[in-house]
């Protein structure tokens, strides 16, 4: 307080005040008592500071800075700025339409950009929320272009022999049936080695995490994930040490993992300790192996060690694995998780930034127009002695007020946008749960706001000051021209809007075109009438024979349901759930030593699968009962794409191959060819699918039902039928093929909506821009138009002249925009399906559409021009 007073008062005044104050204090103390006097004294000091500050801000007029001095000068300038801002706010309130448009558009642009910056920061830029995140890698097997997981044999060898890594851990994602308090449900779980949690630096919130002793205790220890613990156990600490039934077996909860936002824990309900049996052969390859590279070991050295270990163990397993070109590689964990999500995000950000840029340009254009409209006022101010600097400052204050309001709105928009993105983006965008509107993003907002204020403020201020300075008081005349430079300014701004909007609309066109192609991809199955659901039998309760009996009873039970015409089982379902992808070697076309073996989805199905799904037989025969016998020679069916890929139009029936790189296994024979179905995603090219008889030991299956009943009524019936046979089983993921197809294209759909919305906004703003410019053009040239009409000019020609004038601006912008689009859409290749980044119809259609819309926008001013009453105009002029 005293420091403030010292700053506000000359030294002698302060001394006098303090002395007189203690004098009065003494007098009051005698009268009111100590406490009251002290309170009064403090209140007085506060009041003095406030009054002095208020005096400084208010008292004298701007023309007379009081008693000099640097501090006072600064206060004086501050007060002037305050005055400018208040004046601008009042003046803007007189044109609420303009102010609202600018605040809304710029606020939306700023807010959306801030939201996208937050998302990109969380998803792409920030390290994963794990210990030594930048040193975390996945160890994978690379075979040509294919990357796949490691096997138990691989992991054990790696764990025992490696020296380059501080730790290695393996995990396997599975789904389990959990029974808790009478609720039976399917949950996602992860089987992990004891080293898993310490490798990632995760900690328990209750109990403990897994350790080595759990690994050899029969795999009974379970760690709950925090969200699941809260929803299913109400966050009860006493759950530690209790038993839960997982897949029919009692397990012990040893602890609860503390809440993380890490992508590896997303949607995982619980972690089971790994207890994999000692491998008899090299495969199968189902382990995700994580490793943390030691800080002292260079990446190349770690990679070289991986290759060396892989080579060392190759001879041990050669009888079951011959592919000596496959090798272990390191993949950065973050790049693997973020994957290709970064590119669409950058694309959306570019869209958002484009909208922001257009919004700013639009605001600048509107303010330039406003400055021109106010030219008389500005000229009067200049004539009354306002310096050019003062006028510029006033105009800048106006844009500052606008951008300030826009920034306030942007904060709300960003907040709302992030809520929407996190709510709808789960599942499409990795790491979306890590997104927060926090410090750095708000700094971005501040920076962008500043930049926006400059973009919006400088041009209008410049042209306004030119108007005020360059033209005299004779500006009252209606047809006064505002000088060629200012006129050009607005036209250039509108052209710039079109130049930014064009690539956005082109991008939206490409993405929507791509989505349209995806929507028309034939998945190969009856989408409406085939309903699928997932069932998993716990191995503890179901022997192979019991499982066989269960599947048969389920089939019989469901066939009795009204409307059901077929019931089958498979281990995969279209369009993206392929359980197994297998490599093989054809007898007729053996793989050359320098080649990798071909691979394709390997779908295990029951006999009735083809009839149920309506897959047409092209050649040969379908699977029948004999093929399912354990002693039966291995047979497969292939689809048309497979047949075409390897044998063209030749007959494939009777061809033989060896599966899984096994050189000693018996030959597998192709017995028939069926129609093609997509299992690797709609966008994946058809490279063939193999169907084999399903094994009774396959306890995790998709139920496939064909029915004339809608999924909404049949779905619950499926659950009821299965529960009647075993109340401890959960039926999950009930969906028609159409549902699954629709879910598989959620990301492109999401992206189309986003980019489409931005493009539409950009287009709308540009159209508003050209409309404004042309309206202004007509007003300004009213007298010329009137004269022309009076001299017998045809109104249609006048209208055409206005449109041609507007089109000149639009065409320039669109042409520049197309060049930019041609350069930029190349970066979109990865998000496009079956549409070239330079797709000619889009590159022709989009400009045509934009020009058409621009013509429509010019039509109104053109009509007004054609309807000008020459007599009225000439009389008024």
């Amino acid at each position: 307080m005293r420091r403030l007073l010292k700053w506000l008062l000359p030294e002698a005044d302060l001394r006098a005040f303090e002395s007189e104050q203690s004098e009065l204090h003494d007098a009051r103390r005698a009268r009111d008592g100590d406490a009251a006097a002290a309170r009064g004294r403090r209140a007085d000091r506060r009041r003095l500071v406030m009054r002095l500050v208020a005096d400084r801000l208010r008292a004298s007029r701007p023309s007379a800075p009081p008693d000099g001095g640097g501090r006072v000068g600064a206060v004086y300038r501050l007060r002037q700025i305050g005055q400018d801002l208040r004046h601008s706010a009042r003046s803007l309130l007189r044109t609420p339409g303009l102010a609202t448009t600018i605040v809304l558009t710029v606020g939306l642009g700023l807010g959306a950009t801030t939201a996208m910056v937050s998302v990109i920061r969380a998803v792409v830029v920030r390290p994963l929320p794990y210990r030594d995140a930048d040193r975390l890698v996945l160890v994978r097997t690379q075979d040509g272009d294919n990357l796949f997981n490691l096997s138990v044999a691989d992991y054990q060898a790696l764990d025992a022999q490696q020296t380059s890594f501080a730790a290695v851990a393996a995990s396997q994602q599975i789904s389990v049936t959990v029974a808790v308090n009478g609720v039976v449900e399917r949950q996602r779980a992860r089987v992990v080695t004891a080293s898993y949690f310490s490798l990632l630096g995760l900690t328990p919130v209750a109990g403990r995490l897994l350790d080595r002793s759990d690994e050899h205790a029969g795999g009974r220890a379970v760690v709950l994930n925090a969200p699941y613990w809260r929803t299913r156990f109400g966050g009860d600490q006493s759950v530690v040490g209790s038993a839960v039934t997982i897949d029919g077996t009692a397990r012990t909860v040893v602890g609860v993992l503390s809440q993380t936002n890490g992508p590896l824990e997303q949607d995982i309900a619980l972690f089971e300790v790994a207890d994999w049996p000692t491998p008899q052969r090299k495969g199968p390859f189902f382990l995700t192996v994580l490793a943390s590279v030691r800080p002292t070991v260079p990446r190349q050295a770690a990679a070289a060690e991986l290759e060396a270990i892989d080579r060392r163990i190759f001879p041990i397993w050669q009888s079951s694995y011959q592919d000596d070109r496959a090798t272990w590689v390191m993949v950065d964990l973050k790049s693997r998780i973020v994957g290709t999500a970064g590119e669409p995000l950058w694309l959306v950000s570019a869209g958002v930034a484009g909208v922001l840029l257009i919004a700013c340009v639009n605001a600048a254009s509107l303010l330039v127009a406003r400055a021109l409209q106010r030219r008389r006022e500005l000229a009067v101010r200049a004539a009354l002695g306002a310096s050019r600097g003062q006028i510029v400052r006033g105009l800048l204050a106006e844009s500052t007020v606008l951008v300030g309001a826009a920034a306030a709105m942007a904060t709300a928009v960003a907040f709302g946008a992030l809520r929407v993105v996190t709510a709808f983006g789960t599942g499409y965008i990795p790491r979306i749960d890590e997104v927060r509107l926090a410090g750095p993003a708000l700094w971005w907002l501040a920076g962008l706001t500043g930049l926006g204020a400059i973009v919006i403020g400088v041009l209008p201020a410049w042209s306004g000051s030119r108007v005020a300075g360059g033209v005299g008081l004779d500006v009252g005349s209606r047809t006064m021209s505002e000088g060629p430079a200012s006129k050009r300014t607005r036209r250039v701004l509108v052209a710039a809007e079109f130049a930014v909007a064009t690539p956005l609309v082109v991008a939206a066109g490409l993405i929507i075109g791509s989505l349209n192609r995806l929507l028309h991809v034939d998945v190969g199955m009856d989408g409406q009438h085939v309903i699928t659901a997932s069932i998993s039998l716990p191995a503890a309760h179901y022997s192979t024979a019991a499982a066989h009996a269960f599947w048969e009873r389920t089939r019989a039970g469901l066939l009795a349901e009204p409307g059901v015409s077929g019931v089958a089982f498979a281990d995969s379902r279209p369009p993206v759930d392929a359980e197994d992808i297998n490599n093989f070697d054809l007898e007729d076309r053996p793989t050359r030593p320098d080649e990798h073996q071909p691979v394709c989805p390997w779908i295990a199905v029951t006999e009735e699968f083809f009839k149920t799904t309506g897959l047409a037989l092209v050649r040969g025969r379908l699977l029948d009962q004999r093929d399912f016998a354990s002693t039966a020679p291995p047979v497969i069916l292939v689809d048309r794409a497979w047949a075409r890929r390897f044998f063209g139009t030749d007959d494939v029936v009777g061809r033989r191959l060896r599966e899984g790189g096994c050189a000693t296994c018996p030959w597998t024979t192709v017995i028939g060819e069926v129609a093609t179905v997509k299992y690797l995603g709609l966008e994946a090219p058809d490279e063939g699918t193999v169907y084999q008889p399903i094994d009774d030991s396959q306890r995790e299956r998709f139920l496939v039902v064909s029915s004339t009943r809608p999924a909404s009524t049949l779905g619950p019936a499926l659950g009821v039928a299965v529960h009647a046979l075993d109340p401890d089983l959960a039926v999950s993921g009930i969906a028609t093929i159409d549902d699954l197809v629709s879910a598989s294209i959620a990301t492109p759909r999401y992206l189309s909506v986003l980019v489409g919305a931005f493009a539409l906004t950009a287009l709308l703003l540009s159209v508003v821009g050209i409309y404004g410019v042309m309206t202004h053009f007509v007003t300004r040239h009213a007298r010329d138009i009137g004269i022309r009409l009076a001299l017998g000019g045809a109104p249609e020609r006048i209208g055409r002249m206005v449109i041609a004038n507007g089109l000149k601006v639009v065409l320039t912008g669109v042409a520049l925009g197309l060049i930019a689009a041609a350069l930029l859409t190349r970066l979109m290749a990865s998000v496009l399906f079956d549409v070239a980044p330079t797709d000619l119809p889009t590159f022709l259609g989009v400009p045509a559409l934009m020009i058409l819309i621009a013509v429509l926008a010019c039509l109104l001013p053109a009509r007004r021009a054609a309807k000008v009453e020459p007599a009225v105009i000439l009389r008024d002029a």
Partner: protein, 108 residues
Amino acid sequence: MARDALQPFELQVLLAALRLGDEAYSVPIVIELEKHTRRRVSQAAVFIAVRRLEARGLVTTRLDDRGTETGRVRRYVRLTPDAKRLLRETRDLQARLWHGLDRLLGRG
């Protein structure tokens, strides 16, 4: 004229200072005002009012720091002829405005 008009509190301070004569500084002014208004008066308000009056040329002030050894510093206030003229004008204006109103206002 608007610039010359006195704020009510400034008027009170001027009248108190006039009454105190050579002994006018913030402490006796506060006490004097509290005596007449029967309300607590802020010393800060008096201090500010004196500054404003001084800026308008209605009072002059004199810093008395002869008691520096005892730590006592006072800023004495004295009315300028302008202030006295303004007080007279204010009083006359008020008198004219009040003339004949007592009967309508009645006795409180």
